[in-house]
Each structure stands twice: as structure tokens, then as C-alpha cells.
Amino acid sequence: MAAPLLEVRDLNTCFSTYRGQLRAVDGVGLTIERGETLALVGESGCGKSVTALSIMRLIRRPGRIVRGEVLFAGEDLLRKSGGEMRRIRGGRIAMVFQDPLSTLNPTFSVENQIVESLRIHRVARGKEARERSVQLLEAMGIPAARERLRSYPHELSGGMRQRVMLAIAVSCEPELLIADEPTTALDVTLQAQILDLLGQIKEERGLATLLITHDLGIVSQFSDRAAVMYAGQVVEEAPVAELMEDPLHPYTAGLLRCVPRLGRPDVPIRPIEGSVPDMIALPPGCRFAPRCPEVMEHCREAVPPLYDRGGRRMVRCYIYRQRSFRQSGANPTGRPGAC
């Protein structure tokens, strides 16, 4: 098997705050094969977006990447120079953000913003860039694309803006697309349209995608595999169907119980008790222990490692200590991050 397109190993990103070090991303490991979609799932503040920004090296003070490797096509992005990184951003890895209104610059027309990206990466310029922009907008399903070029962001609808963002993202034909909650700011019908479009782009261009979301419905429809994050760590990783059918980690199981089942009113919706731990003063053991229905004595003492269950399934939970093949993945010992 060829090397994966993206392999993140033992990534640690910390933020210095007045109260102390905040370990936003703690020993995260991920792999994405070419053409594959990996969903990164978790609730707000669990470190999904910081993971994405770390991969792109877009973390700014007071945050910093403390340790880890981000292997993209075999090369460690954390060792690249600023100039090399700029060529990769937008060129080989593109990113789409949550709110397309604030990510488009209000002072420029749609054309300017697409052409800018083409120009930065020397893909096209002048008239050619303009034609490319029209093609891209058409490919994103924007009607009357040529007229839309002259529009400013505030003149477009939410769905339209996200289509423009996608046009910019794919303009330089990246190999990897990082979509950070691309549909969260949109209403439900638009969500479906944008997801369809994302699927179509992925299909046509063979794009690998890291999809960040908190919506389990999107995960099951759209991705091949999913990694569940909790309090800065990946707690479970599995192919989507298996994850949905047979969640291993109590947190994943809890998340799935929070989702209403269509046509199954008999299945009760049960929220997870308690709340997310304080990221600066984390509990010594498993981070989910204070909320876990199946918590054991040992869970409160040491952070569990990631156990490899075979079939590309990993889980960070002591329940599987006896029944696993081996410890594997990033941060196998569960040693605390290096802040």
C-alpha cells in the first residue's frame, strides 16, 4: 500500500493563557488516503478546528505547535519554510471555513478573490484567469456565472457564498481539501446542496477531504472513515458504517444516543450527563471518565492509550484493554503533551 496522502502523528498544539497552558490538541494522529474522506467529529471546543489549522500551519500566537509530525505526501509540513508552506496552502491543500460571509473579503468582488488565488499560485492570470473563474463558478452550480463575477460578497446569498469559497478552494486543483464545518452556517436545504456539491467535487477531482463537523448525520452520509475527538484527543477512529452500527467508545455511543432516529420514535434520546472538562485543569485519567457511564477505578488514574482493534478501528478506552491486538497509533502510551 502506498503512503497515505496525509499522516498526522502525535500532534500537540497548546495555547498560552493567563490561567496556564491549554492543550487544545493532545497527541492527535490521523491518516487520510488519496481520494478518501475522513470526518473529524466532536463537540465545540474539542480541538477539531485547531487540528485543521495546525495541519495548515495557521496557528498563531498565543497558540503554538509543540510536537508532532504532519506528513503530507511523505513530507513533514512542520519542517517546511514559510515560503514552501505558502505554496502548499491553497495550492496542494485548500481550506473552506464555516462562515463564508466573514471569510470572503468584503471589499473585493467575487472575480478578484478567485483570480487572487490563481495569481498567487501562478496558475493563470489576466483574461485566462477570468475565464477560469467563470468555469469554476459554473462548476460550482452558480447560475449566470459571468454576471456573478462582479458581485460583492454582501450581494450573495449564504449558499452562493459557500459555492464561491469552494470555487476558490478548488481553483488551484489541490490534493486535499480541509472543510471546517462547511455547512454549519447554512440552513438545512442548503446544507444538503452544498454537501452534494462537495461529494461531486470529490468524485470528479479525486480529492481527499478532511471534513470537520459536529453533525453525525453529515458524517454517515458523506465520509469513508471518522475520527471522534474529545477534549483534544482522538478517542475513536473507525470506518463510518462500523462506527454508526457499533460504537466502541462510551463517548461515541453517547453521542449517537443524542441523535434522534427517523422513524424510530421508540428509541429515546439521551443526552450525555455532565459537561466537558476544563481544558486547563484536565482530570488525571481518561478525560471522559467524569461523564462515563462505564467508568472503572483505573480510568481515573491514567490516560488510556489507543487500542488497535483491527479492521482500521482504534479506541482509547480501558474496556478494550484485554481484547485488543496491540497498542497503536499516535501517543500510544497516553503520555501527557509537552506544554
Partner: protein, 279 residues
Amino acid sequence: MLKLLLGNRVAAVAGLVVVAFVMLAILAPILAPYDPNEQHPEAIRAAPFWQADGESRFLLGSDSLGRDLLSRIMYGARISILLGVVVVLLTLLVGTGLGMLAGYFRGAFDAVMSRIVDTLLAFPFLIFALAIMAATGPNLVALVLALAFKGWVDFYRVARADVLAAREADYVTAARGVGASTAHILFSEILPNIVPPLIVLAALRMAIIIIAEASLSFLGIGVPPSIPAWGTMVADGRADIAGAWWIATFPGLAILALVLAVNLFGEGLRDALDPRMRQ
């Protein structure tokens, strides 16, 4: 934007007055009936034409050396507007440049610059300019520097604050996400978003600079005496205010009209650029 500005009647009129003054300044050599420094010993302190003893060839009268007041006011507009534009441009460029760097990069540069700015803010502007000019005597280069010495501080503070806000905007992260360089982000992404308040500030600063220049000239330490300036003219007419009121009054009215127009225009600009005013 232009529509909004013209829709505001006060600002539109103020704009027209400003344009009129600029035209007057530019076209002074053509429009002025006399050379501003030409003396007419036979017509000293001639009254304006509508006075009973007025002379029709000096429309606004003449001064104590028999120089035509109208011509001198036209030429005086040149130095006022020129100094205003030069000083405001200089302070705009310096202040905005430093402010953007401090706001974007923060760190030691920002800390040091901001302390310097705080210190400068403690100086009274006019008294400071007065001290510089008193030391150097009336000369144009010193005048520009004295007027610009503190003026950049206002642009620095506005630019820095707006860049501080803009650098956290999602479109900046997105621009970095498509591989834009720092220079590109500063000048092509952030700058266009912070220009409107700077334009408004420039207009309002212009009024302040014109007043300051007139004040220094009035005290005889601003524009060199060989160049006709409104402040100098008011000072010249001061002694004759009882007998020949027009010598001090007309240049004074010119200062009043130009400063008022620039100020009202600046305020109109501010309203027109304010997104809350857009419907």
C-alpha cells in the same frame, strides 16, 4: 457612496466650497487682478468697492502697503491648501504605515511605538509647533515638520486599532489559507478595509492643520513673510482694525469659510462611509 454624500445637502455645499477654494488657489495667477505683492502707494488702505470711499479697482480693498486684498487672499489659499495637503499626506503615510505594522505584528515594535505615541499625545500640539518655529524662524520645511511632528499619531492610532481587529477576521485566515504572503495580506486584504476611517480622519485633520498654520503665521513664525498667507494678513490688519476693518476681516473670513467647509465635508464623508447609514 457618492450619492449618499451628495444627498447630504450640508456636505454637498461644503464640498462645493472646498472645490471653489481649490480652484481659486490653482487659478490664482489667472484670476487675481494684481500681483499679490505689488504695492500701490497711491491707494493705501483703500476701502472695499461698496464703501462710499471705496475704490472699484480694489474689490476687497487694499492693505497698509497698498496691496490688493482680493489677490492676496487668492494667493493665500495656495499656501494654506498646499501645506494642509502636504502635511496631511505625510502624516497619513507615516502614521498609517507604522500603525499597520504595529497592529499586525504586535510584539516589541508595537509596545515601543505605542509608548512613543502616548508620550507625544501628552504634548500640546500648537505649543509644540510654536516652540519648533520659534527656534527655527519662519521657513516652509520647518513649518511642514512642525505641523507633521505630532499629526501622524492620530493616523497611527486609528490604523493600529483597525488592523488589530482586521487581523483576526476570518478573511485574513482564509487568505493565509490560500497561500497569501504577509505583504499581500497587509496591503491587499487589510488595507482596503481600513481606508474609510482614515479618509475621514484625513479630512478632519486638514481643517486642524489649516488653522494651526494660520495661527503660526499670525504669530509671525509660520509662513515666511514674502509668501502671502491668511494668518500673516490677519496679523498685519490687526493694528488697523478700527480704521480699516477689511484688512484683517477678509482673510479671517477666508480661514473661517475654508476650515468650516473642510470640517463639514469631513463629517459628511464620515456619515456616508458609515455602514449604519447605508440602507
